[in-house]
Symmetry: C2
Subunit: 388 residues, 2 copies
């Protein structure tokens, strides 16, 4: 069977942009075209992710709109929305379509505008983000996403003794990595004390446990591995897993286990004929520090309950034995919702090419990305590897 | 290669419902399970469409939420949004996944709430619908969808002499068909005079040229044709085409041609090794009467310019030589945006089984569905046929 390869990758800086969705996405897509050396004429489908453009600026049906902006009007174009896992699911569907021979060369990407540049303040954006939580059982209680992940993390702390200091180390490490990523939203180091002294948002999370609202876009070009050799630097997709979990939170038997992530990781590792031990690093969905700890266990980097101590001991740092989020993660690189999933694929692509500059994981040959949506209701896990 | 078959179909009435999105969708999905005789345990993926739940009631990330409601939490679940072509595109992606062997048995469907039961009035809903038009070039001009299709239709009238009376005949015919469909939003006959005397909305469209806002849900079960024989009444998917067109309207070289529909129809007919002549009837996207005329030409039922006269001459009636919208179409059956695409697939399934009651097209062996999104920016065309 044909496997899929990423042959081009592009992204904007994640941060604050005074640009339309179309301008942002076009910047990332044209970067990806250039990186691959493909012209729009060669692209025969578009798999696109945006989570909230309808809610933030009354802009839907974006797939053909953006296709027109990047020179591919006419091709089959579809928008995915799976909360924060939006563009990784677009990527999964694109990979499947290429592997099945349905399309030859596809553009995959996502875009989002979340900052006050939209004209919306933090309160309104928080309400919009909360649309991904349960409409009948969660939203009416006032549960927004800091609260969702606080509940999961509190349970993790109760079960395993995970501490606020351990969580703070996740933020400190991701900020340190972010200083090495020129496209990161935040480029400054912070300390454990900075985190622990920042204002409480939702116990146990303080402001510096939370990722920011960001604007940004990311895009990749996917083609079959039989065609990929004609490109400069293809990176192969070894496996993509996708699973959901029961919602609302109250229906989950073991909430802090993030079941969908475990199921998706098992699928991805099986397809890749690999295990967590073979991964040089991971990009995980650290929307909150506690989410990174839970993700690091769900993808098998650590035994259950060991994610917190591992963060504190520096094992997940760039020079640790289990690096996580060399890009800076959502926490420091930023989190433009619909762009985050393919943003992780861009990072894996650059790292596996050896092109990640000051944040390069030396000799990385295989890596894994974990992108979560909603109240751990969706997770997509992708394994990529250097072309053999 | 495995082909895809529809082995179960279900839908709610289209109309006004005092129900949540979850309640509506579950009613359709459980109908589809029952019709197929499948249990949720046999479903291994969920392809779902909803266009506007985020905008109307702050409800996104619906795929895993609804999966939980219909007993399939855990399976890969994805939401599509492609304006009014939302769930037909979910269907296309599901068909491709089954044909590729990625999934065995999938649930496909859509749901929408558009009526004042949402708490939103016509003005607000019109603004929300307009999110599918171009954010920078169309929305600021005040262009809403009656205006979009009025512009296309005016050009058609200019080119071919299509008349308001001919348009009115589309509405009269679809209302007549709707009286024979127990799940239609409208169950009353109207006359040409009723249409021509109704209030002007956007020249040339009067109120009765326009489809209603509806609530509703539809769902089908898709599996491989190699498995389909174990079901009672499989109907095969012979082809699915999907194309987009350049947007905004002003960029289209020949706007009334609805280019995406022609491209999608060509793909679907080619896959089906068929032509328009072999279709016993069509379900087309008659959001406005003019849209049905343009669609009837784009899918090859009539030569360009002959769609209007054909409607006036009764050729598209149930007993005509080219029946269109036996269900009543969007105009009379109703248009719950995200449910409309799979609603057409439900109609094709029932007709090709011979189960369409008083609206049955006798001896129908092949039929075509045409589902359009936005300012003719997306079209999905599906050909289905009786199992041979």
């Amino acid at each position: 069977m044909t496997r899929a390869s990423v042959v081009g990758a592009g992204m904007t800086t994640f941060g604050v942009h005074d640009s339309t969705l179309a301008e942002l996405f076009a910047a990332a897509a044209l970067d990806a075209y250039d990186d691959a050396g493909v012209s729009p004429d060669e692209v025969d489908a578009f798999y696109f992710g945006n989570a909230m453009g309808g809610l933030t600026e009354n802009d839907t049906h974006l797939a053909p709109k953006l296709a027109s902006e990047v020179g591919i009007a006419g091709v089959p174009a579809q928008r995915f929305e799976d909360a924060c896992a939006t563009s990784s699911n677009a990527f999964k569907n694109a990979v499947q379509a290429v592997e099945a021979g349905i399309h030859d060369t596809v553009l995959v990407g996502g875009v989002e505008r979340c900052t006050p540049e939209t004209g919306l303040g933090t309160g309104e954006m928080t309400r919009i983000f909360a649309s991904a939580s349960h409409r009948q059982y969660e939203q009416p209680t006032g549960l927004t996403f800091p609260g969702v992940f606080a509940l999961l993390t509190k349970r993790h702390m109760h079960e395993y003794g995970t501490t606020e200091e351990q969580l703070a180390h996740v933020a400190v490490k991701n900020h340190a990595n972010g200083t090495r990523n020129p496209r990161a939203h935040f480029g400054k180091e912070i300390t454990v004390e900075d985190v622990l002294e920042s204002p409480l948002v939702a116990d146990p999370f303080r402001l510096m446990d939370c990722c920011p609202f960001s604007d940004g876009a990311s895009a990749v070009i996917v083609t079959g591995d039989d065609r990929a050799d004609s490109y400069d630097a293809p990176v192969d997709v070894a496996g993509v897993g996708h699973a959901t979990d029961v919602v609302p939170l109250s229906a989950k038997p073991v909430p802090h286990a993030t079941r969908a992530a475990r199921d998706a990781a098992a699928q991805a590792y099986e397809q890749a004929e690999a295990s967590a031990d073979g991964m040089a690093f991971a990009e995980v969905h650290d929307c909150f520090t506690g989410a990174e700890v839970m993700a690091s266990e769900a993808i098998g980097f650590f035994e259950d309950g060991e994610g917190g101590p591992a963060a504190e001991e520096g094992r997940t740092a760039l020079d640790g034995d289990r690096p996580i989020n060399p890009s800076g993660g959502l926490k420091a690189k930023g989190h433009p919702i619909g762009a985050t999933g393919t943003g992780q694929i861009v990072e894996l692509t650059e790292q596996l090419r050896g092109d990640a500059g000051k944040r390069q994981i030396d000799g990385a040959e295989r890596a894994v990305a974990h992108n979560l949506g909603g109240d751990a209701g969706t997770t997509v896990v992708t394994v990529m590897e250097v072309r053999r």
